[in-house]
Amino acid sequence: MKLLTHNMLTSKCLKGVNVGYPLGIVAKDIKVLETEFNSEFVLRIIPKLDWDTLWNAADSIGHSGDLPRTLCDDYENDVEFLKKAHHVLLEVEVINGELVCPESGRKFAINKGIPNMLLNEDEL
């Protein structure tokens, strides 16, 4: 699971959960895999992100590096910054661990990089 995906994931499908965001991360195994940097994609995705959640998620698994805590105004022209964002969003992957619902404490296992979001019938 990449942190970009984590930024979009919620547990709101659980019965009784309203927002279900952000999910906590318990990371047992993390991999860093290089992928091609595309500034257009990063520029397009940043406005969709919850930046606080991204920073906190990266920090909680020890990978915030020198990613700025808040977005500055003219980040569009700052290639170094866009590369840092690219790295944290797309190159840091949680391979094994858990996601935790902030409201109910329900845990979702992550195996081989794939979060298991399947719910039991009585959780719907």
Binding site: T5, G113, L119
Partner: protein
């Protein structure tokens, strides 16, 4: 043989054996890739920009690879871990999630620029457990999809409807969830090539894209085959040539984007005098 959906629930039907076919059976692979290419065309994304897309029932990642080839990033969602294992083997770039579409999608509002789904939607019309109500599951799925797409996004589903009631059921639930759109049937008169695409749009009513038809039905048959020959000879048409403009317009028509009709003036040099 009976339809796969009638044999077992998807998480059991798509076991290791079935999943293996998605790496070994070249005919199956070709068909999946072709349908994925058409689905992306129907998404009508603005040209040449990387987008963030969803692949619903992403399975072995064949459809996702097509998204990658076109420069997009994607998240795949599937109920079968055997199929997702094949996607891992294939080393797809997309991020994968294990989940049941009928339980709703677990994403924030406006997260994605579009969604594709290849040969998965018909599975939601089945009740595999006593607690399953297809109508409710479809509605839950479509409404959660509607909310996680951006305002101008589309979702395109290639699917195998069992009958017209099923198609009606899907479309009704999608409209109830807020979508506009309907079903585009490509090659409607061919038993082999006929394909169904449910094209859903978030941002208000727009005309449905044009279906593909058999060459014999096409009025411009002589013209288009001539064009194909020329194209083969020269590779891609010369940028901004008449050929190029016509091809681009044809592509826009197939995507359902507003397009001026072709006239004898199309692609002619402007004289510069007004």
């Amino acid at each position: 043989m009976s339809r796969p959906e009638h044999q077992a629930p998807p998480e059991l039907f798509y076991n290791e054996n079935e999943a293996k076919k998605y790496t070994q059976n070249s005919r199956m692979i070709d068909i999946q890739v072709q349908m994925s290419e058409r689905a992306i065309e129907l998404l009508a994304l603005p040209d040449d920009e990387p987008h963030f897309l969803l692949d619903l029932g992403c399975g072995s990642g064949l459809s996702g690879s097509v998204l990658e080839d076109q420069g997009h990033r994607w998240v795949g969602f599937d109920i079968s871990s055997a199929m997702l294992d094949v996607a891992l083997e294939r080393e797809v770039e997309g991020d994968l999630l294990l989940g049941d579409l009928g339980q709703g999608l677990p994403f924030r509002a406006g997260a994605f620029d579009g969604a594709v789904s290849i040969s998965a939607l018909q599975w939601l019309c089945n009740a595999d457990k006593t607690s399953h109500h297809p109508t409710k599951r479809l509605y839950k799925f479509f409404s959660s999809l509607y909310s996680c797409l951006s305002r101008t996004a589309r979702a395109v589903f290639q699917f195998y409807p069992e009958n017209s009631d099923q198609m009606e059921l899907m479309t009704t639930q999608a409209m109830k969830a807020g979508f506009f759109g309907g079903v585009v049937v490509d090659y409607p008169n061919s038993t082999k090539a006929k394909k169904f695409f449910l094209v859903l749009m978030c941002g208000g009513a727009a005309p449905l894209p044009k279906a593909m038809v058999e060459a014999e039905e096409e009025e411009r048959i002589s013209y288009s085959s001539k064009r194909d020959q020329l194209k083969k000879m020269r590779g891609k048409p010369l940028k901004r040539s008449k050929e190029w403009i016509l091809e681009k317009k044809e592509r826009r028509r197939r995507q359902g984007k507003p397009t001026k009709s072709d006239t004898k003036y199309t692609g002619r040099k402007r004289s510069g005098r007004f």
